[in-house]
């Protein structure tokens, strides 16, 4: 965190000075480790074993927060009889289809209470459907109803609590030592620190960044921590939680109002072709009216969004222009898009503040893909490598591309930086902070807002006279933002639209103050339901700047947090089932008996007058169905999910699999890697053999990629600045003294790192900060590679790109690439140039006997046919 988020780390420093213990778990020893109370090194990609062992430690020593777990999680819920665990099926769950390599999640669902049939909502998907990851918004899939079977004694073998115990029983300290390379002593220090610091009086937080997410099962890494935090009662309480450290300014904002192919604003999913033909189909699939919580009102959020986008053209008569929305036909993530480029299925590409030629996995595929485009628009501050690969990229040097043969027309559009435009940044606490413009952009540089507003204006002018129905959505867009004398649209007018307003009635035009005011009848409009309230009373609440010393520690009047200016999500869990704070020390919100409402230091994340003892009505749905002890109001049953009955495509409970390229065999199961991972078996995306497979000795070492404080991701914002470039001028690799001796490389000399995709050169830093580990019965060496450098001529400093070494295998839930653990060889000296480089890489592949199938076989263990995988008649 100190290494990559130094500004945020000031609060960790302050916490330390107040007595907090900071433990840093990372394969490398970073600037964070230097100031942490303890650093624990682990083998890259082994995190679920460590976290799973902590879960096991908590459960087998009865250290869980019992009252919290019983009332606020789904620990007592009974799971379907058809469910079978990885303990029964060689490391797989029930419902796996070996042909498709995907799961059918039916058998993971909750057992239903009683025999009476629930009325099925229109659009609710039959649960036997194979779960598609790109269909769900943040709420996950709906449950058809919330009337579930429970065993409050937590003793039923089919209760979530018992299933969890059984699932993690082999995740022991010994297994941690064997798999992660962490000593039993360090494990116990960690386990004791965390458990002693959790409970009524204390809370523990986990902070993570892409070291957890960028794996073929990254979403499950986070899930493991979530399960642990729920067991310890660390969710929805001050000082607790799982803190995601985002990689850029306002990455959170670009997820909320997304740049992702599968989401609409506010985590509404993108409709799917053939499945969501009507608005009713669509909203019913997001949240059944019979499930608990606020997703049951998805129709109001969707209709308001359509009203904001299409104005009067969206009305009851045309399903509020629902047909204007694009439909998904499958995954359209960045890597699938590159594949389409390579198949010549894509004409053009916009790169907005992104440098895939350096920053995305398998850089060669990225650059070769762009060479197949007809046109490419790059919007950035400088001529980044993604704008110049056609004249000075690695493939020009190697002879794989010749400038004169490339037909791609590249447009470079200079971008205004953050001081040159006004707008908002949303950070990881969901705090939206308004920025004011300090100076005007130089020369032709434009803000994104101006660029896209102008682009939209011009495209609309082009089709103004069109009668083609496909142009209707463009022409019906509300595109009437007022502009200033420089042509810059007023960013607050966009914020007003995002906030939402009454469309008609006595309050027409008045900003909404809460998303609960949104209606599905077209009377309200709003661009992102979770942001409603940011312009309450016609005031830009994100621009509030009341200093901390004038407020309490919640600082509710500094900027604005979505939703509803709530600073801690699910904060109903900060009080006990009766509504009293768990302790004076951790007081946050509580039930005010006298006035019959929730009150406290934050905006309660709960229906304001729903009393603690209230029982849920079995036939109700939506917020009205919540019981007084259902704090997780966005979950379909109001509970924190220790076991995810649906929503994850690769298992209801996190399970350790080895990375797609690994030096060892999975010590826990016969199944080696995530059986549901997304593979791209291609000749330009070859994988190294793992563990005991033939050829694995050709790529014997682990490499992991990461960032340095001095640079920003692919370098577009740092390698072009002399003051930052001089601080870290050259690409390097970090290795242990033991490793340097083993492969014969010298401190500050050169090394060549070879993977099945490419070979790069780097200066060598031999340091005690890197240590070899023993795992899987062998000595494991990890090579650390910062990924900031790239080949070009316009930056102040250049160097080989670490991402050229990475292959592409994706997490099936969120389509992120694994980039934290892969295999390589290291030899002394600089890499060869031209054809000789290609020959070197090819010789290695031949020696290892690599084919497109290597590492891409999803199933590595015999899958015993579970007794019941067919969908039940229900």
């Amino acid at each position: 965190m100190a290494e990559c988020h130094p500004v945020g780390f000031q609060w960790v420093t302050e916490a330390q000075q107040r007595g907090a213990r900071v433990i840093h778990i990372d394969p490398r020893f970073t600037r964070t480790s230097a100031v942490a109370d303890k650093h624990v090194a682990l083998r890259a990609g082994s995190d679920i074993v460590l976290l799973g062992a902590l879960i096991n430690y908590v459960l087998s020593n009865d250290l869980h927060f019992d009252e919290y777990v019983r009332h606020y999680t789904n620990a007592a819920t009974i799971v379907s009889e058809d469910y079978q665990d990885t303990e029964d099926l060689n490391g797989l769950f029930s419902g796996y289809d070996p042909q498709k390599g995907t799961y059918d999640a039916t058998s993971w669902s909750y057992a239903s209470r009683g025999d009476e049939e629930k009325v099925e909502e229109p659009g609710t998907e039959p649960e036997s459907d194979v779960a598609e990851p790109d269909e769900y918004g943040a709420g996950g899939p709906s449950l058809r109803h919330a009337d579930v079977e429970r065993d409050d004694s937590l003793q039923d073998p089919r209760s979530v609590f018992q299933l969890l115990k059984r699932h993690y029983r082999r995740y022991t300290p010994e297994m941690v030592e064997e798999t992660c390379g962490i000593s039993a002593e360090d494990f116990h220090h960690l386990a004791e620190s965390i458990t002693k610091n959790s409970g009524r009086e204390r809370t523990t937080a986990f902070c993570y960044a892409v070291g957890w997410t960028q794996h073929a099962q990254g979403a499950q890494f986070i899930r493991t921590a979530a399960v642990l935090q729920l067991l310890l009662g660390n969710m929805g309480r001050p000082g607790g939680g799982i803190v995601a450290l985002r990689g850029h300014a306002t990455i959170q904002g670009s997820t909320d109002i997304p740049t992702l192919f599968n989401l609409l604003p506010g985590y509404l999913p993108m409709p799917e072709a053939g499945q969501h033909d009507s608005l009713e189909d669509f909203t019913g699939a997001i949240g059944s009216k019979l499930q608990k919580g606020f997703w049951a009102n998805a129709d109001a959020y969707t209709v308001s969004l359509l009203k904001a986008w299409f104005g009067d053209a969206a009305h009851a008569g045309n399903d509020y222009a629902f047909e204007y929305l694009p439909r998904l036909t499958g995954a359209h993530g960045t890597y699938q898009t590159v594949e389409r480029m390579l198949r010549d299925e894509l004409d053009g590409y916009f790169l907005v503040g992104q440098n895939p030629a350096v920053g995305s996995a398998n850089g060669k595929m990225q650059r070769m893909g762009m060479s197949h485009l007809k046109w490419l628009v790059v919007r950035d501050f400088s001529l980044i490598e993604s704008a110049t690969w056609w004249k000075d990229g690695p493939e020009i040097e190697s002879g794989e591309l010749r400038t004169e043969d490339i037909d791609t027309e590249v447009f470079f559009m200079p971008a205004a930086n953050h001081t040159e435009k006004a707008g908002s940044f949303t950070q990881t606490q969901r705090l939206v902070q308004w920025r004011h413009q300090a100076v005007t952009p130089p020369d032709d540089a434009q803000s994104e807002l101006e660029f896209f507003h102008e682009l939209g204006r011009r495209i609309r002018a082009r089709v103004a006279d069109s009668s083609d129905p496909r142009d209707r959505p463009l022409l019906d867009l509300t595109w009437d933002y007022p502009t200033d004398e420089h042509g810059e649209p007023d960013p607050e007018s966009v914020l007003r639209e995002i906030n939402g307003y009454y469309v008609d009635g006595p309050d027409a035009g008045t900003p909404l103050s809460a998303f609960t005011q949104m209606r599905a009848d077209g009377s309200t409009a709003g661009g992102c339901w979770i942001y409603t309230g940011i312009f309450a009373d016609g005031v830009n609440q994100a621009a509030r700047r009341r200093p901390g010393h004038e407020q309490d520690e919640t600082a509710a009047e500094w900027a604005w947090a979505w939703p509803a200016n709530r600073r801690i999500l699910y904060n109903r869990a900060s009080a006990d089932p009766e509504g009293r704070p768990w302790s004076e020390r951790k007081k946050h919100i509580w039930w005010d008996q006298e006035n019959g409402r929730w009150t406290g230091r934050d905006v309660p994340d709960f229906p304001e007058t729903l009393a603690p003892g209230t029982k849920s009505h079995p036939d109700a749905g939506g917020p009205d169905a919540l019981a007084g002890d259902d704090p997780f109001i966005m979950q379909a049953d109001g509970k924190g999910w220790l076991f995810a009955p649906n929503g994850l495509v690769d298992g209801p409970m996190p399970t350790h699999y080895e990375p797609p390229e690994s030096p060892i065999s999975n010590p826990l199961y016969a199944q080696q890697s995530n059986p549901a991972r997304i593979t791209l078996p291609r000749s330009d995306n070859l994988l190294a053999p793992s563990a005991a497979q033939h050829g694995s000795e050709v790529y014997p070492h682990v490499f992991t990629t990461y960032r340095l404080t001095e640079h920003h991701t692919a370098g577009g914002m740092s390698r072009f600045l002399p003051y930052l470039s001089e601080l870290q001028p050259e690409m390097f690799c970090e290795v242990s003294p033991e490793f340097a001796e083993l492969v014969g490389i010298e401190n500050y000399g050169w090394a060549t790192i070879i993977s099945p995709r490419s070979a790069i050169e780097a200066r060598v830093l031999v340091t005690d900060r890197v240590r070899a580990l023993t795992a899987g019965g062998r000595r494991i060496h990890q090579v650390g590679l910062p990924y900031h450098w790239g080949t070009g001529t316009d930056a102040v400093v250049e160097g080989d790109a670490a991402n050229d070494l990475l292959g592409i295998t994706l997490d099936p839930n969120v389509q992120i690439q694994g980039s934290k653990a892969a295999q390589c060889d290291v030899i002394p000296g600089r890499r060869p140039r031209g054809q000789a480089l290609l020959d070197l890489v090819e010789n290695y592949r031949k020696r290892a006997g690599i084919t497109v199938d290597t590492g891409n076989q999803k199933l590595t263990a015999p899958y015993p046919e579970p007794q019941t995988t067919t969908s039940e008649e229900d």
């Binding site: 000031q10 007595g19 100031v35 601080l727």
Partner: protein
């Protein structure tokens, strides 16, 4: 006798109403995260040229090397093994038992701090540690650079800091040898390096103050507007603190006492001792090992410190010489 401009204590006599309490930095390296934001903020504010040849300096994560004409804040990175940590802890403990003035006694207020009641057993010695420390001009009480400057370009400001007046400096370089810390340097060649096209654009910056002596100005141009120096302003962890000298020294003594109470006896102060060879510094540091480890001289002495003694010797020698000459004449006269 020290002249008005050389003595921070007599700042008021020199600057009259403009004089303020002496300003200082306290750099607490125990919470430095080595982000180098101070280096960048300093260069941005002062428009200083980039240093070096854009190559790794073979010094851990440090690639600017040392303080100089262009780099006025410099972050050192020191990688140490367990043995070295133990040595540092031991040497720090000895400093305390010797009652070195650099390490203050635990103050009475220290015990009631927010960490009161904490476990005070010494921490296990880590196998490894990575020290980071942001160095800066010391703004000495007795400043060698200022003492030896023949043109008066170096002067004591109204804040008690030491600054070069670049329009007076003639670039003679005497001050370079006069600084016991090797801080001040002449800016002989400096570029704000960028690729050729970029240098030709109108955003390329001209290099100021070429050929003259350059060092930290303590952001004098910010202080006169009541602002904090750029490095201290930007430091995310408050490792660099800025304030009145007495307060900085007080905070430094409290912090070192606190760390000692937690068993971190390797902590010690640098520059807080008014009896040292430069009369104490205006930049006080809390270090976690001997100064040499960070590239700081262990016993800095202002070169002019020996002048009075040298004059005395010279006078005695001259007198002796005269006597000898006289005697020789007297003796010769007898021939």
């Amino acid at each position: 006798m020290r002249s008005l401009t050389e003595d921070p204590a007599r700042s008021a006599e020199a600057h009259g109403e403009r004089a303020q309490e002496r300003k200082s930095f306290f750099t607490d390296t125990s919470i430095c995260i080595g982000c180098k934001a101070c280096e960048v903020a300093c260069k941005e504010w002062n428009g200083n040229p980039q240093d070096g040849d854009l190559e790794l300096l073979e010094s851990s994560y440090d690639n600017t090397g040392s303080l100089g004409a262009n780099t006025w804040r410099h972050v050192a990175f020191v990688e140490q093994d367990q043995e070295r940590i133990q040595t540092a802890r031991e040497s720090g403990r000895k400093l305390v038992s010797l009652g070195m003035p650099g390490v203050g006694p635990p103050s009475s207020s220290g015990a009631s701090g927010p960490s009161g009641g904490r476990d005070t057993t010494p921490p296990d010695t880590a196998e490894f540690r990575w020290l980071m420390s942001s160095d800066v001009c010391k703004h000495c009480t007795h400043a060698g650079c200022l003492d030896v400057c023949p043109t008066g370009a170096l002067y004591r400001t109204e804040f008690g800091t030491v600054k070069v007046q670049e329009d007076i400096c003639n670039g003679c370089g005497t001050c370079v040898g006069g600084c016991p810390f090797g801080v001040i340097e002449r800016r002989d060649e400096g570029i704000i390096r960028a690729k050729t096209e970029r240098n030709q654009s109108r955003y390329a910056q001209e290099i100021a103050n070429e050929g003259t002596a350059n060092k930290c100005t303590f952001c004098h141009d910010r202080l006169v507007d009541g602002q904090t120096p750029a490095c201290a302003q930007t430091c995310p962890t408050t490792s660099i603190k800025f304030g009145e000298h007495t307060d900085m020294v007080h905070q430094a003594r409290e912090r070192v006492a606190h760390l000692h109470s937690e068993g971190m006896t390797e902590a010690r102060l640098y520059g807080a001792n008014p009896q040292d060879g430069v009369g104490g510094t205006g930049s006080v540091f809390l270090l976690l090992d001997e100064p040499e480890v960070y590239g700081l001289p262990p016993d800095p002495r202002v070169p002019t410190k020996d002048l009075p003694r040298m004059y005395k010797h010279t006078v005695v020698a001259a007198a002796g010489m005269l006597a000898a000459v006289g005697a020789s004449f007297a003796w010769g006269g007898r021939r």
